[in-house]
Amino acid sequence: MKSLIQKGIILSSILLFMACGESTDVVESGTYQGTIKEVEAAKTEIYVSTDDNKTLELYFTENTSLTRNGSEVEFSELKEGQKVEVKVEKKGKRLDPLSVKIME
């Protein structure tokens, strides 16, 4: 029993190291299509998983336009799993979203 508890603690410790964290990628300025992986409404932030398996972390700015079928929509319209097209501008290693189009 003691041995089982000890093994459990060691295994849990290893899993703990592996479980934490989410990495993001930096890409060049341009337009990318992908799927919304996560929406952080409180920070007006989204994570987009692009078609070439990169994760973009995008903080909306006051200049970011968000549209669906050509019309401006509220940030609350964004949901996980939605297909989007994002136009980003790279400043240093920061990606500023210029526009986000909801594709569906």
């Binding site: 508890i5 603690i9 849990s12 410790s13 190291f17 934490c20 964290g21 920070k43 932030e45």
Partner: protein, 161 residues
């Protein structure tokens, strides 16, 4: 004319809260290490108390860090450093939380109270100390290289007149 911003800004609560768990958790690790060899219960009990307070403190620091994140991210030139800071902060918090759970199990369940688990606990806390120091290093990079959350005065300091 530029105005001096209020000191009590949302992003300032993170640096105000983050240094307590750093000290508490480092001291907790030291106390628990000494308790492996010392028969004085002060080290063991003190280490437990420091660990408990440190774990409470680190989750408060993570909460205030999340508040600051939403504000400073848009101003950073390399937010990937912030992301790594955040990821390792969560890893550190979970490591010390796991250490606290083990510590409490050892306190209340005799079956768990063995020498080998005491050693595993200290090793876990050392691992947490390593990630804690790295989180601190990344936090310092954010402040001293990218001025995260820092007000930069105008060239003529007019706002201080």
């Amino acid at each position: 004319m530029t105005e001096l911003p209020d000191f009590w800004r949302t992003e300032v609560f993170h640096p105000l809260s983050v240094h307590f768990p750093i000290v508490l958790l480092l001291m907790a690790t030291l106390f628990k290490l000494i308790s492996l060899w010392s028969s004085k219960i002060t080290w063991d009990h003190g280490g437990r108390l420091l660990l408990l307070l440190g774990v409470i403190g680190i989750w408060i620091a993570i909460y205030t860090g999340n508040l600051a994140d939403g504000i400073v991210s848009r101003q950073l030139c390399d937010p990937t450093v912030l992301k790594e800071h955040e990821n390792f902060a969560y890893t550190t918090a979970w490591i010390f939380t796991a250490a606290l759970i083990i510590e409490l199990l050892m306190r209340y369940i005799d079956l768990v109270k063995t020498r080998i688990i005491s050693i595993i606990l200290v090793l876990l806390m050392f691992a947490g100390t390593g990630t804690l120091m790295y989180v601190g290093h990344l936090g310092a990079q954010l402040v001293y290289q990218q001025a995260a959350g820092v007000n930069i005065p105008s060239g003529d300091c007019a706002e201080f007149n």
